[in-house]
Symmetry: C2
Subunit: 346 residues, 2 copies
């Protein structure tokens, strides 16, 4: 089952739609068009930093390079730079650092999730073991900070190290609430703010900052990134339940099966009677076997619709926040990126 | 079996000697005497940084605080500062950062080693699981970098992030050579330079740098730290084979059992005939059951003596390198710290 314009069209249609995935790629290509050459330089720098003289380590790092997917964080950073002034060499470095940090978290996430697949290939932990994954993730983290110190000012290093500290705590909170099916929506949002939104927000803010934007504009980009990140994670959680394994490229339903209560389930449990709750929790515990039953139950309370509407609310608010930019040639792209998050096919 | 002045006295005595451990503590207390108040401030700062508003995370961080042991890295840093000029607020921050980074590596090492004990208590991964350990380690790394950016210059952040990137690669190389009993001494040294010596060396150099020392003096402290670190790791590897579990406070023989070839074994395998090699490898594979046999074999080729002599060589060279300081009231302490590494009881 695909998630396409889920905010308005959450339904029980079942056939995967590869042309939708391709359409998403086309949309992204168009959105990234104004920063295409800069994004190429970010990718070049990112790859150069993930290299080594040691042949074994070089092989592992090359493999990990492909963890980098849509490059949404560098893209936000570059577009924010362009919206606020000029994209500089600092932006290229910042973009590479953002992507390195994101990659390091993915390497460590795959250990946590015991994920076997990442972007349709074997995950690095499946390939080289958890030990190597821990250490390579640590290396990429440390090296990203090292690279961030080549910026013309320390603001980038400061913001990114703070953001990563916050991100990790969000993830610890998530683990601590594993199998806590009493998790409140408020706490769920706090967790996803940390684990997902913080790095988007920081990337957007730094893009504006290094283009010389005023503090209130930088803050507006930060708020935009936070809300975009929230919406992105909610959609990701929807995909985890409603996605198509072949399209998502990772093990399906793994979040809920692993006891991570996500928004649709939280909504359902808050609105179901005791009998329905019990059915849902039994379905969760049954893992893959209970998946269809769980989806059916959640549909019965319109819990997917609720989550998608919530995501749309954040997207609307993200777009409104950038009114501070006034007339601006790049601003419409931020609106389109926000909308794109709602129509994710990945 | 204890390791006490192993460089000159490697023997087969067996009874643990708690008074030796207490003597070691007394020696350290004396060596640290000139920086006692500063070390207290480092510890205060370290503890303040390992805190959280979230009660669950606060509990975990408090538990992890105790991973900090002899504080050798901050001590080197502060003493180098004192030897080269004045200990400043920067030194306090640097000391806390060094200890945070060291703590983060210990948290992740315990996952790699599947260690159940750390400093005679349950390790954090035994207590809270591998996932929490990965994430908390990441948090402490990131936060340490964040703290390093409050220094008056960026040198500390630059050096520490570079050192950590190197450290992690040393550890990856170690994992890649797991069960490689053909590992050369040269490669073993490269691994321990990365995984252990780099952070000592960087701490010592930064202590000198932030006291305004000339580059050649900073480099001499870096070289001192590298050689101290090498000797420390060689002695650690000796302890892993010859130590007393109650004294070491961690699972004994775990390195070799886990297929990490350390210097005594590397020496033995390079000097044994085919039959002896086969006996040793069988003993290694037998784990705890083969431990006594392995120790006996390694004694037969004086492989412990060789490793201890090697450590002593690095210590001698470390001491000589600080001649660049000339007449200096603190310099004799560096010589004593170096000697202390050889007589470790821990």
């Amino acid at each position: 089952m695909k998630v396409k314009q889920a905010a308005s069209q959450v339904s029980e249609t079942t056939s995967p739609d590869k042309s939708a995935a391709m359409a998403a790629k086309r949309i992204l290509a168009r959105l990234y068009d104004p920063i295409l050459s800069e994004l190429g330089r970010v990718e070049e720098r990112y790859k150069a930093e993930l290299s080594s003289d040691d042949p074994y380590i070089a092989t592992l790092l090359e493999y990990i390079e492909d963890y980098s997917g849509k490059k949404l964080r560098p893209a936000l950073l570059l577009l924010a730079g362009k919206a606020c002034g000029k994209v500089t060499q600092d932006h290229i470095v910042l973009g590479a650092v953002a992507e390195m940090l994101h990659t390091a978290t993915l390497v460590h996430d795959d250990i946590l999730d015991e994920a076997l697949l990442r972007r349709k290939r074997a995950s690095i932990n499946a390939l080289a073991g958890n030990e190597v994954s821990v250490l390579l993730g640590d290396h990429i983290f440390s090296h990203a900070f090292e690279v961030s110190l080549t910026l013309s000012t320390t603001e980038g290093a400061k913001q990114f190290s703070r953001a990563m500290a916050v991100t990790c705590l969000g993830e610890v909170m998530q683990v601590n609430n594993r199998n806590n099916f009493e998790l409140s929506e408020e706490k769920y949002l706090k967790i996803i703010d940390g684990k997902t939104a913080e790095l988007y927000a920081t990337s957007a803010r730094l893009g504006a900052h290094y283009a010389g934007a005023k503090p209130e504009v930088c803050d507006a980009f930060y708020a935009y990134g936070m809300q975009l990140g929230r919406a992105f994670q909610i959609m990701d959680d929807l995909l985890d339940l409603l996605g198509e394994e072949a399209l998502v490229g990772k093990t399906l339903g793994s979040d809920v099966e692993k006891g991570k209560p996500t928004l649709p389930l939280i909504h359902f449990l808050a609105h179901a009677d005791a009998k329905q709750k019990a059915l849902a929790l039994t379905a969760v515990k049954a893992g893959a076997k209970g998946h269809d039953e769980l989806v059916k139950l959640l549909h019965s309370k319109e819990s997917f619709k609720y989550a998608a509407a919530k995501a749309r609310g954040y997207i609307d608010s993200a777009k409104q926040g950038l009114a501070v930019l006034g007339e601006n040639a790049i601003r419409p792209l931020f609106e389109e990126i926000a909308d794109f998050v709602l129509s994710r096919e990945l």
